[in-house]
Amino acid sequence: MLRDITIGQYYPTGSIIHKLDPRVKLAGTFLFIISIFTFENFLGYVVSLIYLGTVIFISGVPLKYILKGVKPIIFLIVFTAAIHLFFTSGDDVLWKFYALKITFTGLKKAAFMVIRLLFLITGSSIMTYTTTPNRLTEGIEKSFGPLKKLHIPVHEFALMMSLALRFIPILMEEADKIIKAQSSRGADFEEGNIFKKISVVVSILIPLLVSAMERARDLALAMDARCYHGGEGRTKMKPLRYTEKDYISYCIIFVYMVSSVAIGRFI
């Protein structure tokens, strides 16, 4: 049962969005998020909505799936909206009840916040739905490559990420086995109060941690044996290469940025 969990939520449909270079998608998502925080009127969001809707439509990922990502943060959205709604000061009071008051500015601010958060989540989830975790890691490594000059270990971080992704299913399987082993010795995962439950979880976590350490040691040795000596002088089997569609996408992103910010700020 634990094995079915996938990290990164990749949803393969084989669309053109899926085939784009991960760097394009990273840049696109990043710029999109910046754009939605610069708007000062609702027209900007209309442009963003059209843009986002088109991308979702082309990607072929069902809308239901994308909205599922919003669910865990509904509370956060409501909370932020409430704060903005009730605690924004202004003269244009619409409704007043003792210390609580709703102003027109507050209403506008709250609406902006809700839209921004919704767009933030859907915009970034469309990236994870269309990019495999490994491609994403490669994209991050390549995009942040220049930071190597500042002695930031970009390659090492990227490698750590991809190794972690590789070992997730293995550790899941292991956890499954440990749970079975502990239940067969009488550990009860269902009953008892919260403290009892925590102590039972510890009986899974400690063996899991020990085995993860052992695996890490083995893996380090195996990598050493296969001539791993850091990122220097490494070549790639599947290097990231831009193709025509990536350049076109960059142009589309640029056009979106200019038009949406122009509309959102100055009209």
């Binding site: 991809s162 695996r215 990598m223 044996a225 001539c227 070549t235 089997m237």
Partner: protein, 292 residues
């Protein structure tokens, strides 16, 4: 190709705060392995066989004496990378040595490390996957494969480096009998077709019968050295080192003691079957051949 002179490896262990204990794992080994040979190293737990394997790949450096791999001194750090290219190593746990989430990318890992150009990587990955018979799984995720298949991928990953020697450090210990056969068949083929030196470290005596030479290790020393027929001719000696001869050898030995005349060396079950077949057609003394 692999030669050692008085190879010693020891490490320190703290017994109490200011007392140290020196543990000698390898105790003055002198080995000389020629190119293209299939060598098996056996020995019970703690005999130093895995430590020896790790020296061959410069994962460990001798604390005394010298080891040359392909003429290169392993204690010189400038040689480390070329020694590791030359001598690949397959480990025990199939899961813990696979680096990538896609089979072909894992095979490419070593090539990426040594800086082979991209086009070359593709060619060499394809060739070595084909050699171990795993080409149709090239785009699969390794966690869906069996243990034997994972070990074959590990072998392919080494093969892509074009090594002259492959060390298998108890690589069959965690596999089922089918997986063990897969791996042994794969390395035997590499040995006979590509003339790659194979050094097989194992607990399973049945796997050693195809080798050119067997080293028996005990307490950091090589105590027996010779072809399988020679090693398995003395079961009592093997017993002394806590080792069991293959079942077929054992049966043949018992039969000889019962008075059967078996002239050929018997190592595998196939040998034994052919001996029995000879009895059936009346080559040996038939009268006692019915019960056994």
């Amino acid at each position: 190709m692999i030669k050692s002179e008085n190879l010693v490896y020891e490490y320190k262990r703290n017994i109490s705060d200011n007392k140290e204990d020196r543990i000698r794992v390898l105790d003055g080994l002198n080995i000389d392995i020629e190119d293209g040979q299939f060598i098996s190293i056996v020995g019970h737990n703690g005999s130093g066989k895995s430590t020896l394997a790790r020296h061959l790949n410069a994962l460990l450096m001798p604390t005394g004496g010298t080891l040359w791999v392909n003429g290169m001194d392993t204690s010189d750090e400038n040689n480390t990378l070329s020694i590791r290219q030359n001598t690949g190593m397959v480990f025990q746990n199939p899961d813990n040595q696979i680096v990538a989430s896609v089979v072909e990318e894992d095979v490419a890992f070593a090539l990426e490390n040594i800086g082979v150009p991209t086009d070359d990587i593709w060619r060499r990955v394809e060739k070595s996957l084909a050699t171990v018979g795993m080409i149709k799984y090239r785009e699969d995720a390794p966690n869906h494969l069996s243990g034997g298949q994972k070990q074959r991928i590990a072998i392919a990953g080494i093969l892509a480096m074009k090594p002259r020697c492959i060390v298998l450090d108890e690589s069959t210990a965690m596999l089922d009998p089918g997986g063990r056969k897969e791996v042994i068949d794969a390395v035997r083929e590499l040995n006979s077709k590509e003339h790659i030196n194979i050094i097989l470290i194992t607990h399973y005596m049945e796997e050693t019968i195809y080798s050119d030479r067997i080293f028996v290790m005990n307490r950091g020393r090589i105590v027996m050295d010779g072809p399988p027929e020679h090693i398995f001719s003395d079961i009592s000696m093997l017993k002394k080192y806590n080792l069991e001869a293959p079942q077929a050898v054992y049966i043949a030995d018992r039969l000889r003691k019962e008075g059967f005349v078996i002239n050929k060396p018997v190592l595998s079950m196939d040998d034994l079957v052919s001996v029995f077949a000879d009895y059936k057609i009346g080559v040996g003394n038939v009268d006692r051949g019915k019960k056994s």
